[in-house]
Symmetry: C2
């Protein structure tokens, strides 16, 4: 017999709580509130789907923000052999654009084939098996950390560019920004469409506007040189003199692999398909294409303009390789500004608000990109939990502890990276894209196998044709991303990628261990026929310390379950009190026997455990039910004053087979405080809700929309 | 109907566990073991009573050890006005001796009147009321901290005296010693008679032997001068020139109140009467008298010898007040050794092993004195818990957490004092004796009232005569200790006693608050007539996530309790898994309906809470029984992987009235590890067991001995 029922809409329950007005707040609560701010409520929690115009900014900030640092890294790498190699810059940009568009085309296949939002992890697991899935998951976990570190470090550089006193303190600024972001996410950031749409569209408009204006000035011949155009670049030690063919190839490969940082975040849409409006896959694919085109346009425009404005850009640690045209050393205190800042300064040489506006929105979009990692991390955690690769409790919404731990872990790791690498984007980027390309490769491989399988079961010629075409796209994508992965590994392994691979290995082993543990437990727990045998009798004992309301309630509850035997037990540590209790017990004429366990050394737990074991021994097919009256109090220090012995006893009784422990709670008046605290916690907005399609975009209405 | 039963002797149960051989040990366990060492077992735990010859050293180390620093403080205070005031030293010693013997006589009355071992706290509470009792308890708590700080600081000075490289690092040495003592006590120190008897008797023998030999040499005229005898002492600033009568009085009062440090620890025996052999009170009184006589003899001998050997002793921070007889400054690097060290060096001028032996046993006895605080603290805690002034769980033996917290708290406070006062006994002593004399005074006052009350109900003339005599002794004691308390307050308030009073006030307020809280709860919980009303029906729900052994066991247990309604509930966060579960449920032909709660946002806790509330609403006189299958695992990280949702749910359901939560544990194989860990913990020896009469003295046999 199976029945189903749906709980009432949550919003009604929650608004009832909100109606109570300002609740009393405990001390611990106040101090926490000062730390993380007032918490947001998810009273309008509902399932609302995103139109394309909103979905684009929600998922694009990570991918688009890389235009703020990827071109810089290309120029830095090329500058190793002096400014002469800058002629290659737009060709490298073109190569990155080709890879980008190929990857976009590949993911368009993925969103059609896997509209459930599992992304690369799902593709790899379903088609290549669990090990491949775990590898992708490790890569993604590492990448979330690096997204935060790289984006925030880059944002700190822009901040220093706009406000000179921050120069030299980028690491501190970046660490503080991560802390602020962590606090905001612990507190519960309301992600809404507007939250992403405004800054992302502003960023697109300002960068594309700047580039368009710059290109107009270029063609009209009025494009000024960049502030660094008058400088010469000394080649790095070992790169002096004419380059050999091999050395040039290596240099270009390094520059190209740094430029590939522009590809990070492209995969985000494939994880967010369920949040799109119908037709989900179609809309997601369109948005993905749009994202790719915008990203490529922005990147190419920036590189071309930088080249045309004769920007000179070197590793910020090797500023001494810059010289004036006359061959003199640089003036003391020379600041090298990011490429976009130099372009903006040049293009808007007669309109300084434009310059500051470009820098401001770039900084904002970088912070937003970092925030996507904070949102994506718990989402990935819940998917992994669902598959038994992470603690299962992460799988259900609202496990505050696990969820907060995840956010704090992400923040701690990225702050560690920022501090160790002194917030230098150039160094962090060496660690960055390995993970992305590992998952690109496995995902493409999985897709190829997916189409091959699908072809086996498909006879409709037009469907087959589509599948063959999709497989061709993914095959091309695999070839290209495999080449890029090899280039990245060769050029970056010693420069830092080994750290990423080590970290991936660590996550891989942890997930393997968790998965093995769950599998072992499952085997141990598998039910067989004899497991349904009923216990022959129930021997109920009610713990009695005093004869007060909680005890009487526990007795009444125990009686209501009509056990075969029911008795009160009392551990005597003080004969005077015990006699008093026995007298009251008699006076009340409770028709339940009270057994006294003498405990000469004032132990409480052990006599009870031994007593239950003795009962169980006398009747091994029976079950012992231990009723514990429990006080429910509201303040943390009250908790210290009550229930400690009950807690210890409960923990100890867990080890006795055939014993069940029944908590009969008694709510003291102060418990109202804790109840309200609990309900406030439950009603929180969680980071990542939006991209799981769970928070509405306008914050006032909500509706359900199923596939 | 009342039945009683006594659990089997514990030692049998424990030896069964020990028989399992070397158990597997978790990582956390290993790291803790490295920190605090292998734990001791209390397998021979039994009630064994102490003969006088063992009881004396067990309770005397604190009181006797003060001879190691009290004379020094007297000389330091007198030296403020130069060496000429040293003529007063033996008169001050005599005054301290009079107070000491008076206090001893008073406590002999207490041990007869209150043989239960409650000591000053019990006397004050019973005769003067709760507030007086709490005041005494605060004083005792503060004194335990100071006993550790003063004894260990003094021990560090002796260590520096014996081994010069330690000079200047006394605070570090002392802090390390406290840490070592804490570790030993956390690990469980086996207190046995021998543990105390050997060093304490060695100390008595060596100090009394040294003094006797010194006095013999004095009378034979061969007593050499002390190493500092050739020095002159400049009076402290402001004390130059001839002293006024008032100034002299103040000086002597200060020296006297410092000398009264010798009285600390005298009250220990009054807390330990239950540990004595019968006749308990008589034996305790005799031991107390013996203790007083030995302490007075040792102190007077030391003072007289020091005076005769012309010791010059100033505050170690004012060594520049010492000059050679020629008026020159001291040679650089002059070390001022403690009084006993100087005497030993002089008396044993031709026998250096004697010198080192005296220093060594003095150091050991000081550490032992500090250890008594670690033993007394939990004992006091359990008495206070019993009276509702401390968390109740402290009252039962074996609350490891509370017990360890107490020891760590004591250690942290005393280390703080040691660091702040740089391990200078002279400064710490200013804080010390306020607390002791506060409890002396309240205790004497209580005793007077006790005898007055007793006289009202007594008609036997000889008994009345004894009581009147006792009251006279306590009255004299009160007068004397009141005068001393005033002197101490006047001379030491600004020098540090205010800190003690502040700390006492803090403890007082905390205990008051705890007591108020318990009283409030008691009122709230008081049972009335309608509390015994039985619930009309039991609606049982069993939480089902999968159909495995734990679920089947929970279902079987739930069925055995024969509720009015029984159903499984399952929160559906994944329709595929839910369908799978429903299918299995049908296949198994379980005759229990399975209800599915849909949770569109993957929340687990809330739908269940709301469902139980709905049941309760439909039948407000009924009770809802929620059965939760629980996994019992053995390793900490396994705990993270399981039960998190169950834990959260249980916490949340506590707030729902009329809901009882039943944990049905399922022991996985790894739970054996945790069970053994639990049992090892339970079998530990606890500090303070000996002075509660709970550990036998020879460690092999045990027997019971009731009053």
């Amino acid at each position: 017999m199976i029945t189903t029922c749906t709980p009432e809409p949550y919003c009604r329950v929650l608004s009832g709580v909100a109606g109570l007005g300002l609740p009393p707040v405990s001390v611990g609560d106040v101090s926490k509130r000062i730390l993380v701010g007032r918490k947001l409520r998810s009273s309008q929690l509902g399932e609302t789907l995103l139109p394309k115009r909103i979905a684009l900014p929600v998922f694009a900030s990570d991918a688009l923000s890389s235009v703020a640092y990827a071109p810089d890294e290309v120029f830095i790498m090329l500058a190793v052999a002096g400014a002469s190699t800058y002629v290659w810059s737009w060709k490298i940009g073109l190569a990155v654009a080709v890879v980008m568009l190929t990857v976009v085309a590949s993911y368009r296949q993925t969103v059609h084939a896997y509209p459930s939002g599992g992304g690369d992890y799902e593709v790899a697991t379903k088609n290549l098996g669990r090990t491949a899935g775990i590898t992708v998951a490790s890569a993604l976990l590492v990448d979330y950390v690096l997204t935060v570190a790289v984006s925030i470090s880059s944002a700190a550089q822009y901040a220093a560019g706009a406000y000179n006193p921050l120069v030299g303190h980028e690491a501190t600024v970046a660490a503080c920004a991560v802390v602020a972001l962590t606090a905001a996410n612990l507190r519960g950031v309301r992600e809404s469409g507007a939250f992403f749409a405004t800054p992302t569209y502003l960023f697109m408009v300002s960068i594309m506007g700047m580039c368009a204006y710059g290109l107009v000035r270029m063609f009209s011949g009025s494009l000024p040189d960049a502030e660094s155009a008058h400088l010469e670049i000394d080649p790095a030690p070992g790169w002096e003199g004419p380059l050999s063919q091999v050395a040039l190839m290596f240099l270009l490969a390094r520059a190209f692999s740094s430029g590939c940082a522009a590809l990070t975040g492209v995969e985000a849409i494939s994880n967010g398909v369920p949040a799109f409006r119908k037709p989900k896959s179609q809309n997601a694919a369109t948005t993905l294409l749009l994202l790719g085109l915008i990203a490529v346009t922005m990147m190419m425009s920036v590189i071309v303009l930088a080249k045309e404005m004769s920007i000179r850009y070197v590793d910020p640690h090797e500023l001494d390789r810059l010289r004036t045209a006359a061959g003199d050393a640089l003036p003391a205190g020379y600041e090298q500004h990011p490429v976009i800042a130099q372009i903006a300064a040049g293009v808007f040489d007669n309109f300084s608000p434009g310059f500051y506006f470009v820098l401001a929105v770039t900084g904002v979009i970088l912070v937003l990109a970092a925030n996507t990692a904070f949102n994506g991390f718990p989402v990935l955690g819940s998917i992994l939990a669902h598959d038994g690769l992470a603690p299962r409790s992460l799988g259900s919404r609202g496990d505050r502890l696990a969820y907060s731990n995840g956010i704090v872990f992400l923040a701690a790791m990225s702050i560690a990276l920022i501090v160790v690498f002194d917030a230098e984007t150039t160094k962090l980027i060496q660690l960055y894209i390995v993970g992305v390309f590992v998952s690109f490769n496995l995902s493409q491989l999985g897709m190829i196998r997916h189409w091959t399988r699908a072809l086996q079961g498909e006879s409709d010629p037009s469907a087959r044709r589509r599948m063959v075409r999709s497989r061709a796209i993914n095959t091309f994508g695999l070839c290209l991303t495999a080449v890029v992965l090899v280039i990245v590994l060769v050029t970056k392994f010693l420069a830092g990628a080994w750290i990423t691979i080590l970290a991936m290995g660590f996550f891989f082993l942890v997930m393997k261990a968790i998965s093995r543990h769950y599998a072992r437990v499952e085997t141990e727990l598998a039910a067989d026929e004899q497991d349904s045998v009923l216990p022959t009798r129930v021997h109920a004992v009610v713990l009695v310390s005093k004869l007060h309301k909680p005890t009487l309630r526990a007795l009444a509850f125990a009686k209501a379950t009509r056990p075969n035997v029911l008795e009160g037990i009392c551990v005597s540590v003080d004969s005077e009190r015990t006699n008093q209790l026995l007298k009251e017990w008699d006076e009340r004429r409770l028709d339940v026997p009270l057994k006294v366990l003498y405990s000469p050394y004032r132990e409480v737990v052990r006599p009870i455990v031994e007593y239950t074991q003795a009962i169980r021994k006398a009747s091994p097919r029976g079950v012992v039910a231990v009723y514990i009256p429990e006080y429910v109090v509201g303040r943390w220090w009250e908790q210290l004053l009550h229930n400690q012995t009950a807690l210890r006893l409960k923990g100890r009784l867990l080890f006795s087979p055939g014993v069940m422990v029944i908590s009969v709670p008694f709510q003291l008046r102060s418990s109202a405080i804790a109840l309200e605290r609990e309900e406030r916690e439950e009603g929180r907005v969680h980071a990542g809700d939006l991209r799981r399609g769970r928070v509405d975009t306008n914050g006032s209405t909500w509706r359900k929309d199923d596939e």
